[in-house]
Symmetry: C2
Subunit: 125 residues, 2 copies
């Protein structure tokens, strides 16, 4: 799992998530931070923070990997199963603060769920 050191780069990444409060794609983050750190570093920090349980990730309809802050998760316990909304107009993606009830599936062990809602945000509709 590896210790996550609080380097400048790590703090910069975390600050970005604090500031936006929204989900951010890895690509967008690389672009946004291109002057302060390397692309590879961004990807590796995202990986580590996800392992640690600080962030969670999901695949957007656009094929990009998106990250958002976890609410009360750790590396062993992943309680975060809130839905995400992705606008098909502008691409903005946000976490929705509601819980998803995952139906039990016979003969399957469900670890966690990803609910992605596709539609139009207020600005785009």
């Amino acid at each position: 799992m590896g210790v996550v050191r609080k380097t400048k780069s790590v703090m910069t990444v975390l600050n970005t998530f604090e500031q936006t409060g929204k989900a951010v794609s890895a690509v967008a983050l690389v672009e946004h931070l291109q002057d302060s750190m390397n692309k590879t570093t961004v990807y590796r920090i995202l990986d580590r923070l996800e392992d640690q349980g600080t962030l969670h990730s999901f695949m957007g309809k656009d094929g990009l990997k998106w990250y958002a802050k976890c609410d009360g998760c750790s590396s062993t316990h992943h309680i975060d199963s809130h839905p995400h909304f992705q606008c098909r107009g502008c691409g903005k993606t946000e976490c929705l603060s509601m819980d998803v009830t995952i139906p039990p599936i016979p003969k399957h062990k469900v670890d966690f769920a990803e609910l992605l809602l596709i539609g139009l945000c207020e600005t785009c509709s």
Copy 2:
């Protein structure tokens, strides 16, 4: 939107979905059909069948694009919102025949939802 002609290649692709009855990743389909048609052709057929409403697609946790047959969808009306289960052991992905109730989101127009459940299938658990 473009007419979809029932060419040999199109029928071959459709037959694959009929036979497996499961979701198939584009990559797996390309691999499976490599002797009968070109990679590009597979991707384009999948695109067309999705436009037409015959197939629906979703992004797997693995970053691959998965396709499955739609039940009662057309190009204008997408009623398919059943969940998919992806095994983190073997990667197999299946459609689950249950409906997801999409909660209404204030100020957002939700077109459709993708619910991806991650866990272990019967064989892998």
